[in-house]
Point group: C2
DNA sequence: GTCTATACTACGATAGAC
DNA sequence: GTCTATCGTAGTATAGAC
């Protein structure tokens, strides 16, 4: 489908070069079509950009439906189960950040975070909001003593451990002395994230 | 000084709009000079871009000389002292990420991480390398049982907690329900980072 | 050293053929 | 629905005046 092909290539280009750095001519050429197709299907460059954001949000939501399910019945869980679910979700995030398939749309999202536009709003409302709130519901079971705002902060900081694998990938590779993160490094990082998260979740409980 | 003014404004523009999205005309106009000054002083747009990277690396190095000092004699420390220094350094990073003055060059760096160019090499060699290795030396005292590669991974993951405050600032603000991170939110996040880091550093030790 | 003027290229949007 | 052709704008680089 032409629209999908245009969006896929556009996500890659926008993520790599930014909105201004990306040329609709290049996107059209790489899609094997004429530039005016973009005008026809999306109304212009900006319409295509927003369509990319919607496509990413929908893609994440579909691919991680199982993680979302793990958060729904948080209120009914006991603490050890909630801890295990938290660890599973964090590991799922880590895998997303490590997987090379996430590279294209991760670049798009990170770029939006630096200078949010309407596209960020769509990404947040489309998928991030539910994920953050669901994770906080689990954390509330694990750390019932924390007020809601602290739980939100904690959720984002734990998430930061996985985000660094994408947002500072170049530094992580340099630090580990590897040109890219292969299976060995991925396993090592996931294990360490798990141990760190466990320590954080059990911290203050003796 | 004209060169400095050009670089300051260029860092802001490059960080905000990316290399392609930034126009040398705009930079020159905002600096109150002619566009050809950029060609004269930096050889062109790319030369200016690399000069920005060097300027950022030097700036960070100067401003955080005290943090760097805290890492130098790691080998001679006992464990509790090393833990305290780690916490101090992480808090220092957190303050950098929280401080609005870091916004301009943080955007530049995060952008480079997504699609590294020659500028990233200069940033890494100029300042990141020493910081990461120094922090790892402290971690080696805290967790002598971990092999070097694990220490590197641990360092980057701990750093991720502070990075998220910049790289995903838009999401953090949304999650905390605030338009920007003020003093209240900053204090809350720093405290939580400290507690998380303490739990990680003491994890596995009973 | 800093400016103006200009050459050249590439951009996004759009009109109109098919 | 998809193409080609074209318009107006904006980009970098460069030559040359001062």
């Amino acid at each position: 489908m032409l629209q999908t092909r245009l969006i896929d290539i556009a996500i890659d280009q926008f993520g790599r070069l930014g909105f201004d750095g990306t040329s609709t001519r290049d996107i059209a050429r790489a899609s094997g079509t004429a530039m005016s197709s973009i005008t026809y299907h999306f109304g212009g460059k900006e319409g295509l950009y927003l369509a990319c954001a919607d496509h990413i949000a929908q893609g994440i939501r579909e691919r991680h439906a199982t993680s979302i399910d793990l958060m729904l019945d948080a209120g009914t869980l006991d603490r050890p189960t909630a801890v295990q679910r938290c660890l599973a979700i964090v590991d799922s995030f880590a895998q997303i950040m490590l997987h090379s398939g996430s590279e294209r749309w991760a670049r798009f999202i990170v770029r939006e975070q630096q200078a949010p536009t309407e596209a960020f709003e769509r990404l947040y409302q489309g998928v991030m909001k539910d994920m953050i709130e669901g994770f906080c519901a689990l954390l509330a079971v694990v750390k019932p003593e924390l007020p809601p705002l602290e739980l939100r902060a904690l959720a984002m900081l734990i998430f930061g451990q996985t985000l660094v694998l994408r947002a500072a990938r170049a530094s992580v590779c340099k630090a580990l002395g590897t040109p890219e993160l292969g299976d060995t490094e991925a396993q090592l990082l996931r294990n360490r994230i798990r141990e760190n998260s466990l320590a954080i979740l059990n911290g203050g409980i003796e």
